[in-house]
């Protein structure tokens, strides 16, 4: 049985962004390019989902089950070729110049095809986000240039964002918890830099990464939150090793590694956040990525529901199709309703990112002007890197960024993102389970991919802060101040 026969969802030929989000029609009047490009990003996501991801979903799940270190480099190359990883890079530098709205329109489709594969190639960007959050121009420019080069050469370039430690998961993400965290890793100040020793746990792409961004404490005598810094180093650095890859329940195409640091030296220049500011850095990234994980939940739920609709339209029960049954239609509508409502919030978040968060930087006058006047050759040159390195420029740009993305903005996004993250991932769990109640035991057969989505969904309730931690966060942001501390 060929599962996908209805022209629906991932298999519909027309963009349906405006159908799903009718209020964008109003926006299209004012900003036609903004909306049209998002529609194109959606269709690009859909095409990649159908042509590149769907044929590989189960193959990768099976292969990585047998061997968690398995990587499909051909698949990676194809994604690279289609610029799935460099969409957000300015067009003039070789990317697609995507806004946050474009990114969301694209990833919704990718997640609906497979959150495991998508998390593998997209969470890579979390590492890139780490650089943009700090916005030291020399770092950002170098990373953008390197990504574009890698893309052109068809090579991988991976980043891992590592905050979780064996002893500290929630403690590494929440400021209140971090006050009491017992770290499993420390960075010690030595001449010219830091020496890092210890362990990190559950690090996505930890084994594939070329660079690691790690939050690490520097002073065992003080509360962790006061000495947490952010460090950046290549994985070729002496003393870095991957201890093991986890055998996970789902999300198999995406590797999860335990990392060991044994006297890893990080020069001062690669300390992205001074000790004491690491938590802020983490928070700012989370303020973006939690929204992305909310979207992942939405895609996960959509993937499950679309497969179920395809299945139910083909299977016959007592002389009619399963999908003709009254209870099935009501259950499907109920899930559609949740997806629709969640989607509105997801895109609201994306558009807000464009207006208020890191995405607005390139839209802002100085950056926009620079991109406009500087020739492409200079944009990709080392002299630009050198120029950006000059301390006055670096400071000025960093200050400029922090004036655009203030602490209040960041906290605001953290709570919006928390709401989205919990709503999306709970929906993913719920829908992926419920569709199997509709299909019955037959839907559990591996080939339909629905049980895989059920396995995938569970992880999303845990990472980027457990859903409990995110609820606490949301409460603190929205209500905490109102009620005051006791």
């Amino acid at each position: 049985m060929d599962l996908f026969t209805l022209k629906y969802g991932l298999f519909s030929d027309k963009p349906d962004l405006l159908h799903n989000l009718p209020s964008l029609q109003k926006m299209k009047d004012r900003f036609p390019r903004y909306i049209k490009r998002a529609e194109r990003a959606q269709m690009m996501g859909r095409t990649i989902a159908r042509e590149v991801l769907l044929p590989k979903v189960l193959e990768l799940d099976t292969k990585c089950q047998k061997d968690p270190s398995y990587v499909d480099w051909e698949l990676f190359k194809e994604l690279n070729r289609r610029k799935a990883l460099t969409g957000f890079v300015p067009e003039k530098m070789g990317g697609l110049g995507w806004s946050a709205l474009d990114c969301f329109a694209f990833i919704e489709e990718s997640f609906a095809a497979c959150v495991g594969i998508s998390a593998w190639y997209l969470f890579n960007l979390f590492g890139v986000a780490c650089a943009f959050v700090e916005f030291k121009p020399e770092i950002c420019i170098k990373i953008l240039q390197d990504m574009v080069k890698a893309q052109r050469e068809g090579k991988p370039l991976s980043f891992a964002w590592s905050i979780t430690e064996p002893s500290a998961g929630t403690d590494a993400e929440d400021p209140l918890a971090m006050a009491k965290m017992k770290p499993s890793a420390y960075a010690k100040k030595v001449s010219g830099g830091y020496l890092i020793n210890g362990r990190k746990q559950f690090i996505t792409n930890g084994d594939l990464a070329h660079f690691v961004v790690a939050t690490i404490c520097t002073d065992p005598t003080r509360p962790a939150v006061e000495s947490m810094g952010t460090f950046y180093f290549p994985t070729t650095t002496k003393g870095f090793s991957v201890e093991r890859l986890e055998h996970k329940c789902g999300h198999k195409a995406k590797h999860t590694a335990a990392l060991v640091f044994d006297d890893v030296f990080v020069p001062d220049a690669d300390v992205w956040e001074e000790p004491g500011r690491g938590m802020r850095h983490t928070r700012e990234i989370l303020s973006i990525t939690r929204g992305v994980v909310g979207m992942l939940g939405l895609g996960n739920a959509r993937g499950a529901l679309e497969r179920c609709i395809q299945f139910a339209s083909q299977k016959k029960v007592n002389g009619h199709r399963l999908i003709d049954e009254n209870w099935v239609q009501i259950a499907i509508a109920d899930m559609l309703k949740d997806i629709m409502i969640l989607r509105a919030k997801c895109y609201d978040f994306a558009i807000a990112l464009d207006k208020l968060h890191v995405f607005c930087i390139l839209e802002n006058i100085p950056a926009k002007a620079a991109l406009k006047v500087l020739p492409e050759s200079l944009l990709m040159s080392e002299s630009l890197q050198a120029l950006a390195k000059s301390p006055w420029l670096s400071k000025a740009v960093s200050r400029f960024k922090h004036s655009l993305v203030t602490d209040e903005t960041m906290e605001y996004f953290a709570s919006q993102g928390s709401a989205l993250k919990v709503a999306g991932t709970d929906l993913a769990m719920n829908v992926s389970s419920r569709v199997l109640d509709i299909t019955g035991i037959e839907g559990m057969a591996y080939r339909y991919g629905m049980e895989k989505i059920y396995r995938d969904a569970k992880a999303s309730q845990i990472y980027e802060g457990t859903n409990q931690a995110n609820r606490i966060d949301l409460f603190m942001q929205e209500i905490g101040e109102v009620i005051g501390s006791c």
Binding site: D174, E246, H247, C249, K315, V317, D437, I441, Y446, R455
Partner: protein
Amino acid sequence: MLTEDYKEILDVSRKFAAKEIGQHILDIDLEPSIEWTKALWMKSREVGFPGLVIPESHGGFSQTGLCAALVLDSLASECAGAASIFAHHYAACKCIMAGNTTQQKTYLPQFANSNAEDAVISTVVFLPSFEDNKLHFHEKKGRLVLSGKSELTANAFLARYFCVFLDEGNQGKDITCIVIDKNDPGVKIGDSAGFTGLKINPFAPVIFDEVTIERERFIGERGKGFEIMRSTEDLYHGLLAASAMGAARTAYRKARAYAAERYQYGTMIINHQEIQRMLGAMLMKLGIGTSGYIQAMAGESVELPFAEARSRFAKIFCTDSAVEIVIDAIQVHGGYGYMHDYGVEKIFRDVKVLHLLGGSSPRLHMQTIVETM
């Protein structure tokens, strides 16, 4: 409600499960093999499990459905896959016990594995959900033959005998029950459906390609097997309920223990009220679910309107609950719960299959009401 006899059997099955299953199961789950499962069955013969519900006169132990359920509860607390093998086998035993004396004499001693050299495992095939390639009889050269496919058959690679239910009238009423030998010409086993739960018991399609059905293969009269199916289903549902509770019990135990080991926010996570709420809800579901299936299997309903203890209800409640319990048990473990080594994610995969076996909850709810109309 549980007599000394039950307690003794439970003790035996707990020890058996811990020793023969618990110690190896996480490795086996990564690379399951039919040989390992068969060897487990052979060992289970030493403690008499295959013949548990079969009358002593036929080489069994004449135990009740309740006893079987309790045994499966304890097997499932180590591995729901192991329990599922016995659930299908006991259900098949129940079919044969509804047959005539000759049939009982022919099959039951084999099913009890009382003296056979090889493992003799049986299984049951209920009515399929969907219509593709439905099981049906037709005439061929004056013989009655069976054709069609049972898409997902438990014990498919283990079973020697299949007790098969067919619905000739397509109305769910004219039910026929037959017993088929794997070695009958025309019986073929397809490729595993690849369930990622209950992995030691791979489910697979069984194809019947013009299998000749002699008269002695009919259990009860042709077209009059509704009651047999109903009573088989009653036992089967009770066994699934018990298996779900057994599996969920372990998920709870692990979560409870982990919550007292793990520190976050500077305290054991069990000190967080939200963790207490989650664990409390698990324990409540385990309590009600377990007494629910025990009451149903003991046939002891409270005499109040709409207070019937039915094994179908127990199956729905226990498997719904087990799914919820395990999802939360993983959550309490945080990232560790999602990793194979901790053993909870296996239970998560297992119970979702149990949840759907014997009919998904919404379908069973509807059936309950249709029967009253």
